[in-house]
């Protein structure tokens, strides 16, 4: 780059590197490479992988979790976390199941599922922003609380008998192999991408995550933004509960057990800093697809579930550690 070093008037360029150059060095490019690698490996390892219907089935491994992961990404970027998301699913699903027994139909069930999610999110948000409690402790508490209520209501029973129209969310197809959940996933991805990267709200999320005090001192209503993010996470958990309950057509209190960790893994694998302040939605989308394909590929190879969780753990650690290790090597050489 040639620049005239004028003394008279100092012009600061807008960007040091073009947006393309910047994108090429990003975490997302690494994730694309990993995704291609996993895809290639899977298609070589199993003859059943490259089948449109199998691939379509595989998306269920990540679509519901990813819906929560988008909201969780915003929450983690803002420096908070919600570990109660899987328990919100359990509670929302239980509420819908109970409503079915009372004779409610699909539109009401949808509202009850989303509404329960919102209420749970509001409760978390109030404890964190209203009372100033640390979110990790609050949501570990509500993790027990919400699922505890589900267990109290259901015991070892389960709810079933969902109306057939309710099956549309988790079992329906829009066209050919394209499921309803895929469409919901895609819409959520685009909406969250726009919200985080192009709106005033998204800017404030990044500012809060990098320095909540300076954000407050810059006139941002920090508590209000954080409360909104908890609401949003609750709402997305409610949406995931609708999809999952619809797909399983039944509710047990152990539904979605342990999902909070998979959601957080997805977000971190997607390049969101667990310390807050940075991360992107495209990264989370890629991470969701990678995790879904890895789980599906291993399933095709008849690898048992426990080994799968080992694999996902190793994937997370290595994707995060490798650049750090390479970075260290570079530092030592120079």
């Amino acid at each position: 780059m040639s620049e005239t070093t004028g003394v008279e008037m100092r012009i600061i360029p807008d960007r040091l590197r073009s947006r393309l150059q910047r994108a090429m060095r990003s975490w997302e490019v690494l994730l694309v490479a990993v995704a291609v690698g996993v895809f290639t490996f899977n298609s070589l390892a199993s003859p059943f992988f490259l089948d449109a219907w199998n691939l379509s089935d595989a998306t269920f491994n990540f679509t519901e979790k990813a819906m929560i992961a988008f909201a969780m990404a915003l929450l983690i970027i803002a420096g908070e976390i919600d570990l109660s998301v899987a328990s919100i699913i359990a509670l929302a699903s239980t509420a819908m199941g109970a409503a079915v027994q009372l004779g409610f139909d699909t539109p009401a069930l949808l509202l009850i599922g989303l509404g329960t999610g919102l209420l749970c999110g509001a409760f978390n948000g109030f404890l964190v922003t209203g009372l100033g409690l640390p979110s990790i402790v609050v949501t570990i508490g509500t993790l027990s609380l919400f699922r505890g209520i589900a267990y109290m209501v259901l015991g070892d029973q389960s709810y079933g008998g969902y109306p057939s129209s309710f099956a549309w969310f988790g079992q329906g197809y829009v066209w050919w192999v394209i499921t309803v959940e895929m469409v919901i996933f895609a819409i959520c991805a685009v909406v969250f991408w726009i919200v985080l990267h192009f709106t005033q709200f998204g800017r404030t999320v990044y500012a809060i995550g990098n320095n909540p005090t300076a954000a407050l001192f810059s006139g941002i209503r920090v508590a209000r933004v954080k409360f909104t993010l908890f609401l949003l996470t609750g709402l997305m958990s409610g949406l995931a509960a609708v999809c999952l309950t619809s797909r399983l057509a039944s509710t047990r209190p152990s539904i979605a057990l342990g999902w909070e960790l998979e959601v957080v893994t997805m977000v971190v694998l997607g390049g969101v800093s667990i310390l807050g302040g940075s991360g992107t939605i495209p990264g989370v989308v890629l991470a969701a697809i990678i995790m879904g394909m890895v789980t599906f590929g291993l399933g095709l190879l008849n690898v048992p579930g426990i080994v799968m969780s080992i694999f996902v753990g190793l994937l997370l650690i290595s994707v995060i550690a490798i650049p750090r290790l390479l970075g260290l090597v570079k530092v030592r050489l120079t």
Binding site: D14, R15, L16, T199, Q200, A214, A215, S218, G219, G277
Partner: protein, 518 residues
């Protein structure tokens, strides 16, 4: 092995105030250079056993630098430190402790979750024969030391359960546990109540009786004349005078402290204050300030001077909506305004450049452009969507006005120097087109070049009709920039000075509360 307490008890007491005593610690020709600043040049200092030497000087005179040299945190560029005529090489804080130099800072680093005894003996706890910490002996020794300094503190309680004065005593006990012969007290009474201050004086007396050589740093003249035996004045990193306290008057010290300053040129200003913008009436806070009344006019620079802890920043942060006042009224253009958050303040046209730039001012980790745009996002957005081209245009305009030095607007603000970070923080506020701008220690910790740029810019803003409040602890800056100066002490406004009353001597006297009783 005998315990520390026994050793202390066994030592013969040195007669207090031995006039002919030789110095315990001598510093000769100490130089210390920082990038762009000569913090100390050719400084000498002697500390005598059983005597208190008061070190006075304005902010930036080099007091804290010399403390850091004494405690091994800074290595001087030139000069010698010697103890009992033996040269000392202090390359770490550990060395200083080993040499018997103990320092108690304004905000001493102690450990809240440990017990008092553990705090006293941290790093050199007594061991039992298995090499593990001997808690029994540690508690016993700590109790003996605490008793010796007259502190009624149970060594088994957690430090977090103690008040600030008791913590000071623990810090002092810790200094003594390491068998110090030199004790440095850096403004030990700055944050204490009158009763607690008496305890500190009593303690200093006891340390004197023990034969310790004490360096006492203070801004308060009454206490200097009460407890010091000797005085030393620093100004602009140089020693300007030293002697015995009975041969000097308060006026002499003030004159030496303020002297004639070198090297700083302030912009020529022709001040033409216009209409009244801001009026603050009977503003009060439960603990920090009370009965604050002042007005501010357009085109005016109003200085706020006072010692650290006088409540100036607290008043400003209340005006900006960060802290809540308990009573009082804020009038903007004659109309009452309720400001409950910084967002409200910004809407009302009041903005605040904080003293703590790294924590409250700049959002480190975000690009320059985002930092500048942050408070203006509402104006830069349509339907919630940020118009990026306008965002960059805004950042470009205001960073150019402030002559920012940066590689690109999308550079992380954390990569800039302190002075340039400050320019970004000021730029972000100017972009909101405020009516009142409050600058809290605007040039603290920034290089001379950026300092001049900030000063020029403040003058420019006032000339354009902005109302400026500048909180500053630097006398030359206060005198060079302000049209009027309000002096605060202990949460109250004690003087409003302008014109011929605005002299360095007056500022120092009002801020320190000396001359009031007379």
């Amino acid at each position: 092995m005998s315990t520390v307490a026994q050793k202390m008890a066994a030592r013969p007491a040195t007669p207090p105030g031995g006039v002919d005593a030789r110095p315990v610690l001598s510093l000769r020709g100490i130089d210390k250079q920082f990038p762009g600043v000569k913090a100390l040049s050719g400084v000498d200092l002697d500390l005598y056993p059983g005597e208190v030497t008061a070190l006075v000087g304005e902010n930036g005179a080099g007091k804290s630098t010399i403390v850091k040299v004494l405690t091994g945190i800074y290595k001087p560029d030139a000069g010698t430190v010697s103890m009992h005529d033996q040269p000392l090489h202090l390359t770490s804080a550990q060395d200083a402790v080993k040499a018997g130099i103990a320092a108690i800072h304004q905000e001493t680093v102690l450990f809240d979750e440990l017990t008092v005894a553990e705090n006293v003996f941290i790093g050199h706890a007594p061991r039992n024969r298995f090499g593990a910490i001997d808690h029994e002996a540690m508690r016993r020794d700590a109790a003996a030391i605490l008793k010796r300094i007259g502190a009624d503190i149970n060594p088994a309680v957690r430090l977090a359960d103690l008040g600030i004065a008791s913590r000071h005593l623990v810090a002092i006990a810790r200094a003594l546990s390491a068998e110090a012969s030199v004790v440095v007290l850096d403004e030990p009474t700055a944050a204490l109540s009158a009763h607690e201050i008496e305890e500190v004086y009593a303690l200093v007396e006891r340390l004197k009786e023990d034969g310790k050589a004490i360096l006492f740093i203070s801004h308060k003249f009454d206490e200097i004349f009460r407890i010091a035996d000797r005085w030393t004045v620093f100004r602009d990193g140089e020693l300007v005078g030293a002697g015995r306290i009975d041969g000097v008057s308060e006026d002499d010290l003030v004159r030496l402290m303020v002297g004639r300053h070198v090297g700083q040129v302030f912009p020529e200003r022709k001040s033409t204050p216009g209409a009244e913008v801001l009026a603050v009436k009977q503003y009060a806070h439960p603990t920090e300030f009370d009965a604050i009344n002042f007005t501010l006019r357009t085109g005016e620079i109003l200085g706020f001077y006072g010692l650290v802890g006088a409540g100036r920043s607290e008043v400003m942060q209340a005006l900006f909506g960060v802290t809540k006042p308990s009573s009082g009224e804020v009038l903007l253009d004659g109309k009452p305004k309720t400001i409950k958050s910084p967002a409200d303040a910004i809407e009302a046209g009041i903005v605040y450049v904080p003293e703590d730039r790294g924590r409250q001012g700049a959002v480190l980790g975000l690009p320059i452009v985002d930092n500048v745009a942050l408070p203006s996002l509402g104006a830069l957005s349509r339907g919630g969507f940020v118009k990026m081209a306008e965002e960059y245009a805004l950042a470009r305009t205001y960073t150019q006005r402030l002559d920012l030095r940066a590689a690109a607007l999308d550079q992380d603000i954390g990569e800039l120097s302190g002075g340039n970070q400050q320019k970004v923080v000021i730029a972000k506020w100017l972009a909101t087109k405020p009516r009142v701008i409050i600058l809290d220690e605007p040039t603290k910790g920034i290089d001379i070049g950026s300092k001049a740029a900030v000063h020029d810019f403040m003058a420019e803003l006032a000339a354009e009709g902005l109302a400026v409040i500048m909180v500053s602890s630097e006398i030359p800056e206060v005198l060079g920039m302000s049209d009027r100066v309000i002096v605060m002490r202990e949460g109250l406004i004690v003087a409003e000075l302008s014109g011929d009353d605005l002299t360095p001597e007056r500022l120092v006297r009002e801020a320190a509360g000396y001359g009031e009783a007379a």
